[in-house]
């Protein structure tokens, strides 16, 4: 008698289970349809292919991500260098073994980002003017670009000393500088770093990276946790084809995006931690006996002295090797009276903490130093007022100029170089 009852109960249970499963499937299908409809309504119809691509991109970005402040590495003689530039240097050194093409005239460019951009946008015009001159007849100008963003003296001088010891022997060396020597050096001083040391944000983290406090290590652990999570979720999504479903695909993407944000935030905190000023002689260089606080004049005089002595040394090492040397005092927007402002340039002159005052007080000192160097026989081109008569827009930020600006500077440099060569 009990047997039929048990069979009936089992049958009911089976029916209930089937019903539940069917409802679940219907609910999932409805959710899938609703999700797709919602995506469509938002103007971004769900695409399994696009989701797959995004997941793969998130995974690859995570795989290649290294929690460091930049691609900079230590360099023994100039403080730091970009990894890609070391590779370029390797190629240039390899070229030294080959005979130099007949008639090649090498110009080695040093300086900061302004010089680097000049190498990209102004060097062409410089080559044009030089090659058109009869004194360059049959010669082909080749630029060796060793300008580096945020560099300042004595980095350019040390770079040249190093390159000469490697066997480089260019025909001319042009240093475009002045701005960082007063602006970034003063900023260093305001951070308690010696003005002669490299720009603190560029050099400081390389010194302190080896100094891992538990907090920094915890941030690195968080970065690695996020990376591993991204790896696992993207593998699951791609291997199990979860992207075919908009619901599961979106869930995976949401999780991956959250992990990416967590990773980026931890990396940002890690970088910020490394960039935080610390009282470490490795970062700040020799302690200075200083005048009373707020004596910016003393700092600026030191900055200008560094620029001036480095130019004198560059001139000396070039002179004895029959290399033409040209020190170019670059123009800059915050230098009062250096350019009539175009409408678009007015917002760019908004005062910048430390920098504006350093430029406005430092540039007159640089001009005097340049004139003194010239009197000693150092070839100096004071191009600080090269844009003094140009009313059109030249600057796109407070120190970098557009193609027209670079062309103007190129012509001034060409003129000075030709005077030396003729």
């Amino acid at each position: 008698m009990t047997l039929p009852a048990t069979a009936g109960a089992r049958g009911g249970l089976r029916r209930k289970l089937l019903l539940t499963l069917a409802s679940l499937a219907v609910a999932l299908a409805a959710a899938e349809l609703a999700m797709r409809a919602l995506s469509g309504a938002r103007g971004r119809p769900y695409s399994a292919r696009a989701a797959r691509e995004e997941i793969a991109n998130l995974r690859d970005a995570s795989r290649n991500f290294r929690p460091r402040v930049s691609q900079r590495v230590l360099h023994p003689y100039v403080g730091s260098e970009l990894v890609e530039n070391l590779e370029l240097l390797r190629k240039e050194i390899a070229r030294l073994d080959e005979p130099r093409p007949p008639g090649e005239y090498q110009i080695l460019l040093v300086g900061s980002s302004v010089a680097g951009l000049f190498a990209q946008h102004g060097a062409g015009r410089l080559r044009e003017v030089l090659e058109a001159d009869p004194s360059f007849a049959g010669r082909r100008v080749r630029f060796l670009d060793f300008a580096r963003g945020a560099f300042k003296q004595p980095q350019q001088l040390d770079f040249v000393l190093y390159l000469l010891s490697e066997g480089f022997h260019p025909d001319a060396i042009v240093d475009i500088s002045g701005l960082n020597e007063v602006a970034l050096a003063s900023e260093n001083a305001s951070r308690g770093t010696h003005p002669i040391y490299p720009d603190t944000p560029q050099w400081g983290f390389l010194c302190v990276e080896g100094n891992i406090a538990p907090e920094a290590l915890a941030l690195l652990a968080e970065i690695r946790r996020s990376q591993r999570s991204i790896e696992a979720w993207s593998a699951a999504a791609l291997d199990w084809r979860l992207c075919s479903s908009s619901v599961l695909g979106e869930l995976c993407l949401g999780r991956l995006r959250r992990e990416r944000t967590a990773c980026a935030n931890a990396a940002k905190s890690y970088a910020a931690r490394l960039l935080t000023p610390i009282a470490d002689p490795l970062v700040h260089g020799p302690m200075r006996a200083r005048g009373p606080p707020g004596d910016g004049r003393e700092d600026l005089e030191l900055c200008v002295r560094i620029w001036s002595e480095a130019a004198r040394s560059l001139d000396a090492v070039c002179r004895d090797r029959s290399i033409e040397f040209l020190e170019v005092l670059q123009p800059t927007l915050h230098d009062a009276g250096s350019k009539p402002l175009a409408k678009a340039e007015i917002p760019l002159t908004a005062p910048l903490p430390t920098l504006t005052a350093a430029i406005q007080q430092g540039y007159p000192l640089l001009r005097t130093a340049a004139a003194n160097l010239a009197k000693e026989g150092v070839r100096v081109l004071d191009a600080s007022l090269a844009f003094a008569d140009v009313e059109t827009e030249l600057y796109y930020d407070f120190c970098h100029f557009n193609d027209t600006g670079n062309r103007i500077l190129a012509e001034r440099i060409a003129e000075a170089l030709l005077r030396a060569v003729r």
């Binding site: 795989r63 290294r66 929690p67 460091r68 590495v73 230590l74 360099h75 023994p76 003689y77 100039v78 403080g79 730091s80 070391l86 240097l89 390797r90 050194i93 073994d97 004595p154 980095q155 001088l157 040390d158 000393l161 190093y162 000469l164 010891s165 490697e166 066997g167 002669i196 490299p198 050099w203 010194c207 990276e209 080896g210 100094n211 891992i212 290590l217 690195l220 652990a221 970065i223 690695r224 990376q227 470490d280 002689p281 490795l282 020799p286 302690m287 200075r288 006996a289 002295r305 560094i306 002595e309 480095a310 004198r312 040394s313 001139d315 000396a316 090492v317 002179r319 004895d320 090797r321």
Partner: protein, 421 residues
């Protein structure tokens, strides 16, 4: 009926599971007590002190590994008070902590205006320059210089910036750096040559740039840190082991496990296992550091092994030429000195390189003192010559002879026209 149909129990009649459990427990306790007594007996037989002190110390010692572990290369990071400790320097590769303090002291004097009353003699270079800059030897120079008319009554002051183990172009950079800082030496004495040959060739042998600082000196500061994924994983695993070790040690001591020979032996065993895994993790991390920092250490690298010596000679010649140029532009008297070749290190590079350096120096036409054979003229009677000390280094007598020779050449240089200003 139910009792009748039950299968025969595995437990003997009169025993219950509770009794069995209690018996096993009693056996374990007895076993533990016997082990405890046995271990204490062994401890006493081995001459160990009774009581838990030794065991507590052992646990603390194992825990100490955790506290000592620092995930960084020994020379990177914050400065210490050890004067010989190498620190990163943006323009010299590295500098000693003592050297940083020395420069700060000189900068203070500079600011006080001391330079005006002084006749500054800057000594640059490697081992030989560091020797020459030592107080006693500088005193030897001082004595012979003091009354020289070129000093015009000014007090000779030695800026002893020779750094053992450093090589060109760091000396050229050092001069450029000091000039930018405001130093105005009247004389620059450069003592170099051996390090450029031995360090440069050793670099090239390992595929590193001969112009880079010698790997022996630069390797550690340049390998401070890496954020490679593998390295990070190794580092984080090592850190986890460190925490585990700390936890085990602290927990054992908090529970007073050191009072039991058995439990402390068990704890120490576990801690040794964790420490082994920590050390293994650190080995992996250091290997990752080593591989990751290769570009930083080796620079643009060097693949033309047969030409290493030429690259070293060129580095030496070009850098000293740069120093001569910087001096000439400022009317600084420049004396370039080739010191006696050390009898240790890469003898082949020195034997082949010294004639090349001489040849280059002659071609340059700068004031050059060739002291390479200074000690050969008077070898002395000792097994290695009186002027040579142990391990191929100079003896005190050798140092004095070198200082005297440099002083002679310097006086000659100061007598030359144009030396007085």
């Amino acid at each position: 009926m139910a009792d009748e149909t039950q299968a025969p129990s595995a437990v003997p009649r009169g025993w219950s599971w509770t009794k069995i459990a209690l018996a096993v427990l009693a056996l374990l306790v007895a076993l533990a007590l016997v082990s405890e007594l046995f271990l204490r007996g062994v401890e006493l037989a081995r001459g160990g002190a009774p009581g838990g002190d030794a065991r507590r110390l052992e646990i603390q010692r194992l825990g100490q590994v955790a506290a000592e572990f620092e995930p960084r290369a020994p020379s990177a990071g914050a400065a210490t008070n050890e004067p010989d400790r190498l620190l990163l320097h943006p323009y010299l590769g590295c500098e000693t902590a003592g050297g940083v303090r020395q420069l700060e002291g000189e900068l203070r004097l500079l600011r006080e205006g001391a330079q005006a009353e002084r006749f500054d003699l800057l000594i640059l270079g490697g081992d030989g320059a560091e020797e020459l800059g030592r107080e006693a030897l500088a005193g030897e120079l001082d004595e012979r210089l003091r009354d020289h008319p070129a000093l015009a009554g000014r007090r000779p002051h030695f800026l002893a910036f020779g750094r053992a183990g450093s090589k060109q172009p760091a000396h050229a950079n050092f001069l450029a750096y000091l000039l930018c800082l405001g130093f105005e030496p009247r004389v620059v004495i450069l003592v170099d040559g051996p390090e450029e040959l031995t360090g440069g060739c050793a670099n090239a042998e390992q595929g590193a740039d001969p112009c880079y600082p010698s790997l022996e000196r630069w390797r550690l500061p340049a390998s401070g840190w890496t954020t490679d994924r593998d390295a990070l994983d190794a580092l984080l695993r090592a850190r986890e082991r460190q925490r585990e070790l700390q936890r085990l040690g602290d927990g054992a001591l908090a529970l007073g496990l050191q009072h039991s020979a058995l439990l402390s032996a068990f704890t120490c065993g576990r801690m040794r296992g964790v420490r082994q895994r920590l050390e293994e993790g650190l080995r992996v991390y250091r290997a990752a550091l080593d591989s990751s920092a290769r570009t930083v250490r080796a620079g643009p690298g060097f693949s033309r092994r047969g030409e290493a010596l030429e690259a070293c000679v060129r580095n030496w010649a070009e850098s000293s030429r740069s120093i001569a140029s910087m001096c000439r532009a400022r009317s600084i008297v420049f004396l370039h000195v080739l010191p006696p070749a050390p009898r240790s290190g890469a003898q082949d590079a020195l034997a082949r390189g010294y004639p090349r350096l001489r040849q280059q120096a002659r071609a340059e036409g700068e004031r050059f003192l060739d002291d390479a054979r200074l000690f050969d003229a008077d070898p002395g009677s000792g097994p290695d010559g009186e002027r040579w000390g142990g391990e191929g280094r100079w003896s005190d007598e050798g140092r004095r002879a070198f200082a005297s020779s440099v002083a002679g050449a310097l006086l000659e240089a100061l007598d030359s026209p144009g030396a007085r200003r």
